[in-house]
Structure formats: C-alpha cells, structure tokens
C-alpha cells in the first residue's frame, strides 16, 4: 500500500512538472488570480474583457477578445495598453500586449505597473484588418493585501507550537516512566 501511494505521488509530480503542469503563469496557483475590471465592452469588431490584479506593484494584464455580433473572429494586428495615474503626476506608459494561445477568440497579455495606490486611467487600443478602436476605463490600485511583517510571526509560530507539544510530551513521558 505505501508503495502504491508513493507511485501515485511520483506520477502526480511528473504531471505537474510536465508541459501541462508547469506553465509559467498558468500554474501560479498562489500568485493571486486576476480580477475582471472591464466586462464585455464593445470595441470595434470585438467584445473585450480586461483582467488584472489591481494591487500596487507590477503584474499581468489580460485582454480577452471575442468577435462581436456573430462576426468571424479576426486576430488583431496589435493590442496596446496605456496606463496613467488620474492625478497626472506621470505620463502615460504604453505597453504592447502579446497574443497567447486560446481555443476561442483571442487573449493578449502584458505586464503593467501601478506604483502607488490611487486611481489610474487605462486605455486599450486595438488595431486589425477588420477595424479597431479604443476602450477606456479606470482602475483603482489598492495597497498590497499581504500579511506584511505578520508573516514573520506566522512563520515562527509552528516552531513554538511544535516545541510546546514536544515539551508537554516529554513531561508526560517522564510521568509515565515514573509510574511504571
């Protein structure tokens, strides 16, 4: 039985490390999932949704495209994303998004950076042979919701807990030895 369990575990690990399992951002289960900040907005011949992680720092931004009104989907020749703080303290930065393989429609990805927790203007510019357009939206970058320095305390607790259990067990063992 332990050997069978061990074999299953090795097989699962092999799948994880295979091309299917270890895709760089696909399997980043603990990196945090993106949030949809624009849902099904018409832009030229497309219906677009925009996903990103609206936290301070840099992270991926995805543009999901589908053909509008039952048209045939034509892949855009370029998808660009511009981000600029609403306050105007920085000038707009334009990023070229690259295409990623999907079964239906199109998915484009680029890395964007929100350096401060504030309101940002977002522009998605799409160009294609069947037309193009621009989509604008606003996104509020929030402070990173990490545990912060509390992670140090949290990571130390298991050592204290195990030490406590070990000490309590040692006391109980001594008592049992004395009794027997």
């Amino acid at each position: 039985m332990p050997l069978a369990v061990f074999g299953l575990a090795v097989a699962a690990f092999a799948v994880h490390l295979s091309g299917a399992g270890a895709h760089p951002h696909e399997m980043a289960a603990h990196r945090g999932a993106p949030t949809r900040i624009v849902a099904d907005r018409r832009i030229g011949p497309y219906v677009a949704s925009v996903w990103t992680d609206p936290e301070v720092g840099s992270g991926p931004l995805y543009i999901m495209l589908e053909a509008a009104d039952g048209q045939t989907f034509t892949s855009p020749s370029s998808v660009r994303v511009g981000v600029v703080p609403v306050s105007g303290r920085l000038s707009e930065v334009l990023h070229d998004a690259h295409s990623e393989p999907v079964r239906r429609g199109g998915r484009f990805m680029t890395e964007v950076s929100f350096d401060r927790a504030e309101l940002w203007n977002l522009r998605v510019l799409i160009a294609s042979t069947s037309g193009g357009g621009q989509l604008t939206a606003q996104v509020e970058a929030k402070p990173n919701a990490s545990f912060g320095p509390f992670a140090l305390v949290l990571s130390s607790l298991p050592f204290l807990i195990v030490a406590g259990v070990w000490w309590r067990a040692a006391v109980a063992r001594r008592r049992i030895s004395a009794l027997s």
Binding site: Y62, M64, F147
Partner: protein, 198 residues
C-alpha cells in the same frame, strides 16, 4: 491502569514479526516516522520564515526573496515544484501514517488529511484547465475554487496553516493521549510501550 497497558499486553502489540511495512510504519516505527515527517513540515515552514525575513528584515524585492532552496534552485519556486512536491509529501505522509493514530488523535489527523486532499482537488482543477485549454469562470488564467474567496498570494500560507493546526492537535493528542486511547495505541509515541518492549 487498564490491562492493555500492562507490559505483556503492549509488547505483543509492538512485536514487529510478521508485520507489513505499513504496519511497522504505524507501529514500532511510528514515532521515528512522525519525527521525520514533522522535520519535513518544519523545514517547509523554515523556508517561509526565511522568505519573510528576506522581505521584511533584509528588504529584498519580492521576486528575489525565494527562501533558502530557491536561492540555489530558482526553478523550484518559479515552477511551483517545491510547493507541489511538498503538498504531495504531506498528502502521502498524512495517509500512510494515519492508522497509528487512535481516537480523537485519529479524527484530527484525518481532518488534516481531508483538507490536504481538497488542496489536491484544487491542483487537479488547475491542471485540468491547462490540459483542456479552457479556464473556469471565463478567467484568462486557470482558477481554483479557493481563489474565488482568497484571490491572494497568501492562499499558500493559509492552506499550510489550516492543515498544520489539526495535524499538530492530532500529534498532541497522540503524544499525550487520554488513558482510554493510550490502551489502543500500537506505537511507542506516548512513551510507555518502548519501556514495555525493552
């Protein structure tokens, strides 16, 4: 004292003759196996402690704070091989060492096992989405169900914590068992059987 706790009764429980590997792991070898298992668990927590220290004390950028092993083998962290390998070791360890636990300790141990099992269901969901090429909830990246509630980096730490807590309660109940449970134990973890066997 019950009769089962008498030296003769206990030594017959821990006699390794004719025992299978699994029975030995949960009998005479249970104490040592649990020590090794807890060593692995603590080594994993030590990695997190090192990572938190790198970020919050040494002020390294998050991308460079890869714990200890991640410094020498960055791909371990990038590919999540370290995380998934550890999750597998946990699942296998929790399953293989379960029958050495009795009573309430067994209940708590199995709580930890089922939470860890769910963790693997989540991984299977993620891998399934990659293999099929279709993500849940229209997401551009594969999504796990827990990410709907906790869409943050801390999900990993939370999973480890909620598995660790019932596991350590089980260990406590196992090392310091109530008398009724001690009588059913086949291992040396709570102390007395080793004396009896000697």
């Amino acid at each position: 004292m019950t009769t089962a706790q008498s030296p003769v009764a206990i030594s017959s429980h821990v006699d390794p003759a004719g025992q299978s590997f699994a029975e030995r792991l949960n009998g005479p070898w249970h104490e040592r196996s649990l020590q090794v298992f807890m060593g692995i668990v603590l080594a994993h927590w030590a990695e997190h402690l090192a990572q938190a220290y790198q970020v919050y004390v040494l002020h390294w950028p998050l991308a460079n704070a890869r714990g200890v092993l991640g410094l020498w083998f960055p791909w371990l962290v990038r590919s999540e091989a370290l995380h998934y390998g550890y999750a597998l070791v946990m699942l296998v360890g929790l399953w293989i060492l379960r029958s050495g636990f009795v009573g309430s300790a067994h209940t708590w141990w199995m709580v930890a096992f089922w939470i860890q099992f769910w963790h693997h269901i989540e991984h299977a969901l993620l891998q399934g989405q990659v293999i099929v090429g279709q993500n849940l909830f229209g997401s551009p990246v594969p999504m796990s169900l827990a990410q709907l509630v906790i869409p943050r980096l801390e999900l990993h730490l939370i999973y480890n914590t909620i598995v660790f807590i019932p596991m350590v309660i089980a260990m406590y109940r196992h090392l310091v068992p109530p008398e009724a449970e001690r009588a059913q134990m086949r291992c040396t973890c709570a102390g007395q059987p080793r004396l009896a066997a000697a």
